[in-house]
């Protein structure tokens, strides 16, 4: 098909042609076209179907406020549902499909809903589908759900990348129409840092769509010169294709830049879109205005659109929706459209003006005091019926109808912080209200300055006022005072659309009112008015006006609606940026990672860390084989485990001991230099927060360890205590977690192994370096290191730390030196098995609800001193007689499984919540015990040793008989670790 509706002129590049496809058919357009303008140029008016009644629809607008012309753009994984044809930039090879129709946009089976529309009035579903009860979910809802939605997801991963970025400026100007350009010019020339953002790909706003003059020359020339001057200023950044999506607190704006949406595929390494966070000292909103439609019978047919949109299509894109066009207007602006179209050679069938005093024209017929009473043409307008001033009717043949009900300032961003717009009775429109977001002011049509000169002037003044600079001189331009009278709907219409996408008609609003849904919020929710993808940009005001009429009140008394971010819908991918896939969270690698990978370790995510979980060797086919071997070999000889992930906090200062005494519930003041002590930290509410060790390296120097998971929160807590509770204490803190590679060397041969690498001047014999000792030492011929004699495994064990960059080499050295002892590297699984065998609490036990008492450490809580949490740990509810106590459990039948998360029931009790005795926190197979074992919190557990209980897990369908035991399955006396 050729471009039958293409006119002369326009801002398109006719030298080049883009081939594109819509609903399987090939078309041609030009650079500078949108999909909508190119389709109109090709004589296509029908582009989509409405949500509820599946009415045939064409574009209503030429911009981002479009409710109707929604298509699925692109194919395959890049398919992008609900894309507005009116803003989609044409590119070579573009493909688009209409949506919400089957089998085709011209013949849509679901259009049967339209015939049944009487039964589908607002809120009908709340009143029916209730009987019989199961039918809602089994019958009715599936039918309704099948009809839901507009476009479809591809069901494939989005292949494009998105970036996030941050920009700062003195003045953010939102919208590059006359006021925005003038403001940018003023601020730019004054040397201020300026960002000028516009959602369009071309800067100029309405100037691109009008036949106007500025300063005696064409407005297009002025626009081009202005943009050129702005581009040359290093302090001005022009951001076309960028939508300011929201005004957030304190001058922070979200902006989405569509970097590659006008390309078939983004260039390699380049993002599809960028979400910018703009930090603006001041903001000038120059967002323009949106023309209002008029509600009349069948006002939704393809070919019926806003008059200003027609002007845009004709002037900017040289595309007319039809060659015979009528205009329905309540203000002078409709006549401007008629004049522009006429000038371009489009036949104006008539201008139907609601006003008796309508201006007349020599070029076309004007029907004053007339209204459109109906329209015809199922898939595209064929004629309109007009009720004339004298009450008679006539028809006007036309294939397109422009509606002009006046203009509404685009106040959306002024409301993002819940500010309310104010009513301007001269304009019969809402204008920005008093409480704007911090730093924001408004200029141009967004403020109600509807003339070109007014816009230029208010842009210049807006910039000057915001920045305290001189107001720039403004060129002359059109300055006709705006005349707009309110005209919202034609009386007596049966089906007159307000919200075209959601199919909300005047009648629905009347029904809502009749049923008591009279607040604006009730109206919106009951009828879905304004809830569609256009967020009611063209429909909310009409709904309000009708509510006002029904209530016999003025519009501002009925209320306003709040506009919420985003200004236009935003791709979820853009809001996520690069934080997806393997980049969702940063990955933390341990110092032995490279070595462990070489060694074939299986890794596991522990918070953001990746840790070696186990190290399979040849012949092992199941993880348990590896883990059992690692445990057995460690307990029999020696094993090495990377425990760098534990938090390490350097605590220094004269009051360091005093400080730790406050933090830990057990005493620390008298810990000797060269010694380590286990410590339990409580939250102020008396619940255990974290445990770890504190090593006293010097009188005024401790190294505190935390669990891997709590390193951050514990550090924050320590800073709170230091700065807010003990502000005069001489204590300094810094995290050193990643500075040191720290390895546990555990097992009866651990000392012998370490003696091979610890420099000989350091005696690490049991006498010189007993259990819970610590020291600064050197290894491998002089490398500074720290050595701690602590044990998580229950074996004789050490933890040795060296600067992280040497961690890899130290691990290799330990493995080499340990060959003679059959040294084994072990991972987090074996670590877990050995700690469960020893009954050490870990994250599963320190779950944020357990007390020292529950953990069997009640006696550790010092009564002699005040520490965080001690007072509240004494509350009755935390010290009841049958409080949970940490114990061990093992199956009576060794072959049976202990399920972590299983609950414990007394031998003969019913299995229900009322008889719940506790739960298993951790479970593992213990090579030493020869069966699975578990740690459990059981009511009065410490008094129930030997009791036979049932471990039930209905979720995993298991029930096992267990015996309550001590939590210390291995070496309960602790002889091994002291050896």
């Amino acid at each position: 098909m050729s471009q039958v509706n293409r006119l002369d002129g326009g801002q398109i590049d006719r030298a080049a042609s883009f081939k594109f496809k819509f609903d399987g058919k090939d078309f041609f357009g030009h650079p500078g076209d949108t999909l909508a303008s190119a389709l109109l140029a090709n004589g296509v008016r029908l582009m989509g179907r409405s949500f509820k009644y599946h009415r045939p629809r064409g574009p209503l607008t030429a911009g981002s406020e479009e409710p109707n012309a929604l298509v699925t753009l692109r194919d395959g994984a890049r398919a992008e549902p609900n894309t507005r044809a009116t803003t989609a930039e044409l590119f070579h090879g573009l493909t688009a499909r209409s949506q919400n129709c089957w089998p085709s946009v011209k013949f849509d089976m679901m259009a049967v809903n339209d015939a049944a529309s009487d039964f589908l009035a607002a809120g009908f579903y709340y009143k029916t589908f209730m009987w019989p009860a199961p039918f809602w979910e089994k019958v009715y809802e599936p039918i309704i759900r099948r009809a839901a939605g507009l476009g479809a997801l591809s069901m494939k991963e989005d292949p494009d990348e998105y970036d996030k970025g941050f920009r700062h400026c003195d003045l953010l100007i939102i919208g590059a129409g006359p006021s925005g350009l003038m403001a940018a010019l003023s601020a730019g020339r004054a040397g201020k840092e300026v960002i000028l953002a516009d959602e369009d790909f071309a800067l100029g706003g309405r100037l691109l769509s009008e036949r106007l003059e500025i300063g005696g020359a064409s407005a297009l020339d002025w626009t081009a010169q202005t943009v050129a001057e702005l581009s040359s200023m290093p302090n001005v950044r022009l951001m076309p294709r960028t939508t300011i999506i929201g005004a957030f607190d304190h001058g922070i704006y979200g902006a989405v830049e569509r970097v590659s949406d006008h390309l078939a595929v983004p260039a390699k390494g380049k993002p599809r879109q960028i979400l910018w966070r703009i930090y603006a000292d001041k903001t000038l909103l120059c967002a323009g205005a949106t023309e209002r439609p008029i509600a009349f019978e069948n006002n939704d047919r393809p070919g019926i659109m806003l008059a200003s949109a027609m002007r845009s299509y004709v002037n900017r894109w040289a595309a007319t929706p039809a060659h015979r066009v009528a205009i329905f207007t309540s203000c002078d602006d409709g006549h401007r459209t008629a004049a522009d179209l006429h000038a371009k050679g489009v036949k104006i069938a008539a201008v139907i003006d609601t006003r008796a005093q309508a201006p007349q024209s020599f070029d076309y017929e004007v029907l004053a005091g007339a209204e459109v009473s109906n329209t015809k043409g199922r898939l595209g307008l064929t004629f309109v019926e007009v009720k004339l001033a004298d009450g008679s009717s006539r028809t006007v043949e036309c294939s397109a109808l422009g509606m002009s009900g006046g203009w509404n300032p685009n106040v959306h961003l002024t409301c993002h912080q819940r500010g309310r717009p104010a009513w301007d009775s001269v304009l019969s429109a809402f204008v920005p209200g008093g409480s704007l977001p911090q730093g924001m002011s408004v200029a141009g049509a967004a403020m109600g300055d509807f003339t070109t000169h007014g816009a230029l002037l208010s842009g210049a003044k807006g910039a000057a006022d915001a920045l305290g600079i001189k107001t720039a001189d403004v060129p002359m331009a059109e300055d006709a005072p705006p005349k707009q009278a309110a005209f919202w709907f034609v009386e007596g219409a049966k089906r007159a659309w307000l919200d075209q996408q959601n199919d909300v008609t005047v009648k629905d609003v009347v029904l809502a009112h009749q049923e008591g849904f009279r607040s604006v919020e009730h109206l919106k929710r009951y009828t879905t008015l304004g809830m569609a993808t256009d967020q009611g940009k063209t429909s909310n005001m009409g709904g309000l006006a009708i509510m006002a009429e029904l209530a016999g009140k003025a519009i501002p008394e009925v209320g306003t609606t709040i506009f919420r971010p985003p200004y236009t819908p935003v791709a979820i991918g853009a809001l996520a940026g690069r934080m997806r896939g393997m980049e969702f969270h940063p990955t933390r690698l341990t110092p032995s990672h490279v070595w462990a990978k070489e060694r074939g370790a299986v890794f596991v995510e522990v918070g953001n860390w990746l840790r070696a979980q186990w190290f399979p060797i040849a012949g092992e086919t199941h993880w348990r084989q590896s883990v059992d071997r690692e445990v057995a070999q460690t307990r029999a000889s020696v094993g090495v485990c990377d425990c760098t992930t534990l938090g390490k906090i350097d605590v220094q200062g004269a009051d360091a001991a005093h400080f730790l005494n406050k933090l830990y519930c057990n005493p620390f003041a008298k810990l000797a230099v060269g010694k380590v002590r286990y410590g339990l930290m409580l939250r102020e509410d008396g619940i255990a927060m974290d445990d770890g060790t504190a090593a006293r390296l010097a009188e005024d120097h401790f190294v505190v360890t935390t669990t891997t998971a709590k390193a951050g929160p514990v550090y924050q807590h320590m800073e709170f205590v230091r700065q807010c509770l003990m502000p005069d204490a001489d204590v300094q803190l810094i995290s050193t977690t990643e500075a040191w590679a720290q390895y546990a060397v555990a097992g009866p041969n651990s000392r012998a192994l370490l003696q091979k690498i610890v420099d000989p001047e350091f005696d690490i014999s049991n006498e010189a370096f007993e259990f819970m000792a610590c020291a600064n030492i050197t290894v491998c011929g002089g490398l500074r290191a720290r050595l701690f004699r602590i044990s998580f495994s229950g074996e004789m064990a050490f933890e040795i730390a060296v600067p992280s960059r040497y961690g890899d080499a130290l691990m290799r050295r330990l493995m080499a030196a340990g060959e003679e002892f059959d040294v084994v590297p072990y991972g987090t699984e074996a670590l877990g098995v050995m700690r469960i065998e020893k009954g050490h609490a870990a994250g599963n036990e320190l779950n944020g609800t357990t007390t020292a008492n529950n953990l069997g450490m009640g006696r550790m809580v010092s009564k002699k001193k005040d520490s965080i949490g001690t007072v509240l740990s004494e509350r009755a509810g935390l010290n009841e007689e049958d409080a949970l106590k940490l114990v061990g459990v093992k199956p009576l039948n060794r072959a049976e499984k202990i399920t972590a998360g299983g609950h414990l029931m007394a031998a003969a009790s019913p299995v229900d919540a009322a008889h719940d005795q506790g739960y298993v926190t951790s479970a593992a197979y213990s090579p030493e015990v020869g069966s699975m074992i578990g740690l459990a919190f059981i009511k009065s557990g410490d008094a129930r040793m030997g009791e036979k209980m049932r471990l039930v897990s209905p979720l995993t369908k298991s029930e096992v008989e267990v015996e309550v035991t001590s939590a210390h399955f291995v070496d309960p006396e602790g002889g091994r670790q002291r050896a």
Binding site: K270, W609, D730, T737, A739, C780, R784
Partner: protein
């Protein structure tokens, strides 16, 4: 002298260098770091020692003192990070402790951080895609802590001003490197 071989934060034996459109990202393992935190009541003495070390200058809030061999930047109230060439000052913390004595708490920080130098005409555009720092206003000698892809980092603007140094958590060096390199490919 010990015989253990160091690896870089990215896990290699040699530092990594990447170039995109003339802007260069290089891993820098040659930096020894130690934090110096004044003891309560010894703030003035601590500053005096610091000034003594840094040719009479003490980095004020948000600033660095850039000089050789030792340099420093402000990290918090009465707290600084001191840096020096690793080859000559590997045990920087011990050197500083000897100098500062009881006037400051000193902690070795060398391997807490991975260090990347980003340098070239596209530096500012890359930084804009990484963190909220106002790079157009940032002066040579400014130091800011910021967040890059959820990683707490220091960004120092060096001399010449097309050069920033990024210190990020060492264990996440791979993620940080990936983030910066992706931003370079995107912006440049």
């Amino acid at each position: 002298m010990h015989d253990l071989i160091a690896i870089t934060a990215l896990g290699g034996l040699e530092p990594r260098v990447d170039t995109v459109a003339g802007t260069i990202l290089s891993e820098n393992p040659g930096l020894a770091l130690a934090s110096v935190h004044a003891r309560m009541g010894h703030e003035d003495a601590c500053r005096a020692h610091l000034a003594d070390l840094l040719d009479g200058q003490v980095p004020e809030v948000g600033r660095t003192v850039l000089r050789d061999p030792e340099a420093a930047f402000w990290t918090g109230p009465d707290q600084w990070m001191v840096g020096a060439p690793f080859d000559t000052h590997e045990d920087l913390a011990a050197e500083l402790k000897a100098r500062f004595g009881d006037t400051a708490s000193v902690s070795e920080q060398t391997d807490a951080w991975a260090c990347f130098d980003l340098r070239g005409p596209g530096m500012a555009a890359v930084i804009e895609l990484l963190c909220p720092i106002n790079i157009r206003q940032m002066q040579t000698g400014d130091a800011q802590r910021t967040s890059i892809h959820h990683l707490g980092c220091f960004v120092l603007r060096r001399d010449p001003s097309d050069w920033v140094r990024i210190l990020g958590p060492r264990a996440s060096a791979t993620s940080l490197h990936h983030a910066v390199l992706s931003a370079m490919r995107s912006a440049l």
